[in-house]
Symmetry: C2
DNA sequence: GTCTATATGTGGATAGAC
DNA sequence: GTCTATCCACATATAGAC
């Protein structure tokens, strides 16, 4: 038992191995032989326990998203209860949504950064069955958070809020997925450039916390940025021209 | 000749088909048979003209990135020349970097939104050869823009700037890649929710412009957001506690 | 440069013994 | 539930005629 995460249960062993390998290589590039080899189980076990490779991927996500969805909804419930009908502050909403996710990265029993990276990368996979799956898994939660943001920012056009939610998801996903990929783009290890020790070995827990610390102000700044100056398209609410500041 | 983009030249036909199919299905899930079938050329032509599937992908990008890299560097050159030694405004730097890219989306002869989406998606592909390739292609340009931002924001810790550059790249990449994927996450066509007609058929050109209009204020807001309150890690520049505003 | 034919490998999935 | 053995579709790549 050299691997601490190894589960005696075959099912869990497969899920753990698949989670890591899908994260490292992507779905298409990961063969079932590689997965069962890493999990030290028989090749036929995947089809026996899950039915197919596609179903395996879905189960890898369901296992984690069940917790995440519940937690995110509860966080919003708590906030709305405390506010007693008053609209929430956008910073509270972002903290509930993104903070909950980033805290998964600090908890190995919830998948840690391995799952977070997998999530960030898989969201851009073009495969139809993946997109369909995420649509179903995310719909309810995203919808509630969207409504919360609409209430919190009554003077900002809803279309604008949806766009910015979209941008925020992107910034977060890339930031997460990229903690071992996008040094390619920035030309250096994340944070390493300015003499900041990072990804040394204190490891993923520290990284998740640091990421949250850096990311939240950025997202909030983006969300409350002045609105675009030229609203050349119809929107539900009249948008005054001239770069008004989003109320926050 | 039903397809207007079809080139009589075999090489170009392959590149055009590959660009579109890699974008739609991803690299791994796109076979050379599919590509040569769509391009209406012989299967063996790919290996004859490019050598391998990997080399084909690289060439698909080189064809576009040559223009993008040159344009981005020239845009920065022009700005610095006009400023005559004075530091640039961050908004100018972002406009040069992101605006140049987004303008590619409006020009079909530069690949249009097809290439932009492909770029956004491929940046997260885990394959080693892809990451290595992008590292080489992007290094020089990113480095110059990083230095420009350091000069423009002398009071912001460099590590913070690198993180935020990273976040901005993510927001943009997802926004682009997601214009036909991430409605899954936001639960609706981008912009559609609030009664805004979008992606109807005026098509990608309009979409690229709208995206730029929405994205730039968001990025600028994120870049100039207050710094994180707790700098529990060493940085090159002393960071004052208490959520100071990034100078901009 | 283009084509056919093929070499050679690997993929997901399953039948059937234990 | 687990394992072996195997089916068969499809992948990339190339040899060699034209």
């Amino acid at each position: 038992m050299r691997d601490l995460k190894a589960n005696t249960d075959t099912r869990e062993r497969i899920l753990d191995a698949a989670e890591r390998l899908f994260m490292e290589n992507g779905y298409e590039a990961t063969s079932m032989r590689t997965i069962t080899g890493a999990a030290e189980v028989n090749l036929a076990a995947v089809n026996y326990h899950f039915g197919s490779k596609e179903a395996l991927l879905r189960e890898v996500f369901r296992r984690r998203l069940a917790w995440l969805n519940r937690e995110r909804l509860q966080a919003l419930d708590r906030l709305e209860q405390q506010a007693g009908g008053a609209p929430l502050k956008p910073s509270q909403i972002l903290e509930a949504f993104f903070g909950t996710l980033l805290r998964m990265g600090e908890d190995e029993s919830l998948g840690g950064m391995t799952f977070l990276r997998l999530l960030g990368r898989t969201l851009t996979e073009p495969a139809e069955f993946i997109r369909t799956f995420f649509a179903g898994e995310y719909a309810q939660v995203i919808d509630r958070y969207k409504l919360a943001l609409f209430s919190a920012l009554p003077d900002v056009p809803k279309a604008e809020i949806v766009w910015r939610l979209h941008f925020m998801l992107g910034a977060m996903s890339y930031a997460i997925a990229g903690t071992d990929v996008l040094q390619v783009v920035t030309g250096c290890e994340v944070g390493d450039l300015a003499g900041e020790a990072v990804a040394d070995d204190a490891g993923d827990t520290a990284l998740a916390r640091r990421l949250a610390q850096r990311l939240m102000p950025f997202l909030l700044g983006g969300l409350r940025a002045p609105l675009p100056q030229f609203q050349d398209l119809p929107t539900t609410r009249a948008a005054h021209s001239g770069g008004q500041q989003a109320q926050i």
